[in-house]
């Protein structure tokens, strides 16, 4: 098998538009996975820092009628001269040549070293229209591309949800969080060890763009509880708001502004030790809001406390340090995924509303606004029957849609909806 060279089709097209009789060679940068024979070539700095190790890279668009061989030899010569003048030894470079034949560009690539030249297979990273073509029929891809989702909280929940929505074809994101990725986050967050110390918003932005470079992602490294006008503005510009923070004040602030701007909001969380979780879809005027359910006691099951900072916020200031530490009881990433998966489904249902996409049957099932996930026979689910072979009784590892209603006395949605 020849080494593989991947080139971004839209970048190649952009270069081609700049070609003139005097200018048909362009310098770029390639990244390789050493020993794997895989190279990614870029004509300009990509939006997301690429993986792999950098090496030289050249694009050539020979004038019509010229042959590839002399062109490559000439370019290799030029490459060597250029690197030599910069005092750098010429080890190897990726040369991508595009001939204009019969009305289209015929690509050809080779790996050039001082003493040899190895032919490569050049493949395009497809253009925008083809990237998520597999989702067609399941989802209204073009409609989703235009949807903007605001995600508040880019921790273990928000990072998974953002990436799944990008994979489904959602095209626009506003990401809000002021936290940075820490070592303790790695086990559950999508971020990687090389992302340590970065803002979670930017880690997730890069993950989204790595899946779909055509997404529009805006990041806001702010504490939304102190930037309420910004939060209101983001909600107003959203098609859907998702709140997956670990403090109630920010959840209530999101609830407030989503209601005020008439936007559907999703709230999700795990309960202590991830024994279960819950998801609320708050549809302004059509169902209960977060405050309605909290006031009815439905959301007062202790939330999972995953950090000591969260424990400090949730418990009175006089709580002893050892008690704070004991409160931090986290579930595994695999305990969280069912909850984020449900939120993604509810998000796609909400974003596909009014389209003829295949989410319709899912929407018919997901009529409840509040869902409980029972993960493990622990804490409040300790007495539940074992799952075993039964399908017709309550068991763990299932979702339960809960019939809920707006609290007619709710001071939050009552006031904001009627107002």
């Amino acid at each position: 098998m020849h080494p593989l060279v991947y080139a971004d089709e839209s970048q190649v097209q952009a270069l081609f538009r700049q070609v003139s009789p005097r200018r048909w060679r362009f310098k770029g940068v390639a990244y390789e996975w050493r020993g794997e024979g895989v190279f990614h070539v870029f004509a300009r700095t990509p939006a997301v820092a690429p993986s792999g190790y950098p090496l030289g890279c050249f694009f050539a668009f020979p004038p019509e009628g010229s042959q590839p061989e002399p062109t490559e030899a000439r370019v290799v010569q030029e490459v060597r001269a250029e690197l030599g003048s910069a005092g750098m030894p010429f080890r190897q470079a990726v040369l991508s040549v595009f001939h204009w034949r019969n009305g289209s560009l015929a690509p050809h690539a080779c790996l050039c070293a001082p003493d040899r030249k190895v032919a490569c297979d050049l493949r395009y990273v497809p253009a925008h229209s083809e990237l998520y073509s597999r989702s067609r029929g399941l989802l209204e891809v073009e409609a989703l591309e235009r949807k903007r989702v605001v995600i508040v909280g880019l921790g273990s929940f928000g990072s998974q949800i953002a990436i799944e929505l990008a994979k489904a074809g959602v095209g626009r994101f506003d990401l809000l969080d002021f936290d940075r990725l820490e070592l303790a986050n790695l086990a559950r967050h999508t971020g990687r060890i090389q992302d340590l110390g970065r803002f979670k918003t930017r880690v997730v932005r890069d993950a989204i763009l790595s899946k779909n470079p055509f997404c529009e992602v805006r990041t806001f490294e702010v504490d939304i509880n102190r930037r309420l006008p910004l939060l209101r503005q983001r909600c107003a510009g959203a098609d859907l708001v998702i709140s997956v923070t670990d403090d109630n004040a920010s959840r209530f602030n999101v609830n407030h502004f989503a209601l005020q701007t008439g936007r559907t909001a999703l709230f999700g969380r795990a309960i202590t030790r991830a024994a279960g979780g819950d998801v609320l879809r708050a549809r302004p005027g059509a169902g209960p809001c977060l405050s309605c359910l909290f006031g009815q006691g439905l959301l007062q099951t202790p939330a999972e406390v995953s950090t000591i900072e969260q424990a400090r916020r949730d418990l009175p200031a006089y709580t002893a340090p050892d008690q704070l530490q004991a409160t931090v009881q986290v579930g595994l990433s695999s305990d969280i995924l069912p909850i984020t998966n449900m939120m993604v489904k509810l998000a796609l249902v909400a974003l596909s509303e009014g389209t003829a996409a295949g989410m319709q049957s899912v929407a018919e099932d997901l009529v409840a606004d509040f869902y409980l996930w029972v993960n493990r026979r622990d804490l409040i689910y300790r007495a539940w029957p074992r799952m075993e072979y039964f399908y017709n009784r309550n068991s763990i590892l299932r979702w339960y849609g809960i019939r809920t209603q707006r609290d007619p006395a709710c001071l939050v949605c009552g006031q904001l909806i009627s107002g």
Binding site: L228, N248, S291, P302, R313, D314, P316, Y318, A320, Q415
Partner: protein
């Protein structure tokens, strides 16, 4: 606090703490607060300052005892100096004004009104008066 919520709070307070409560510095987010006078069954009067955060009611307000200043425990020790205290349900003070723990942050929600906060503070004050009678800590009378 937006104007609709402000009107609701004001109405409830006027119904229940008529002539014993007043908002202060409504347009200053740093100092906006409610002053409320509470009377215990012993006849002892207290004045509270309830600090209203800019994102109230989504965030919990903080309640301080303004007068009598520098409340003491039964042994005569300053409660401000004992704060924060689990036994006495006290959070960090503001100078010699003790801060009462009225709601656990995790239990707070926006349908709780300032009237309820004031009532919870009244419950704390009754517990405090019982502490002064019996020597038992506030925690004996109130859940943590």
């Amino acid at each position: 606090m937006d104007s609709t919520r402000y009107r609701i709070e004001k109405t409830i307070l006027e119904q229940n703490f008529s002539r014993r409560s007043a908002f202060v510095d409504r347009y200053n987010p740093e100092t906006f607060s409610l002053r409320v006078g509470l009377k215990c069954s012993s006849g002892q009067a207290y004045q509270l300052r309830i600090r209203i955060p800019p994102d109230y009611p989504n965030s919990i307000p903080r309640a301080y005892v303004m007068t009598p200043a520098d409340l003491r425990d039964r042994a005569g020790q300053s409660l401000a100096q004992r704060s924060p205290s689990h036994d006495m349900h006290l959070l960090s003070p503001d100078g010699n004004q003790i801060q009462l723990c009225h709601y656990k942050p995790a239990n707070w929600h926006p349908n709780v009104t300032l009237y309820k906060v004031a009532l919870k503070c009244l419950v704390w004050l009754e517990a405090y008066e019982n502490h002064m009678l019996t020597g038992k800590p506030i925690d004996h009378f109130l859940h943590s």
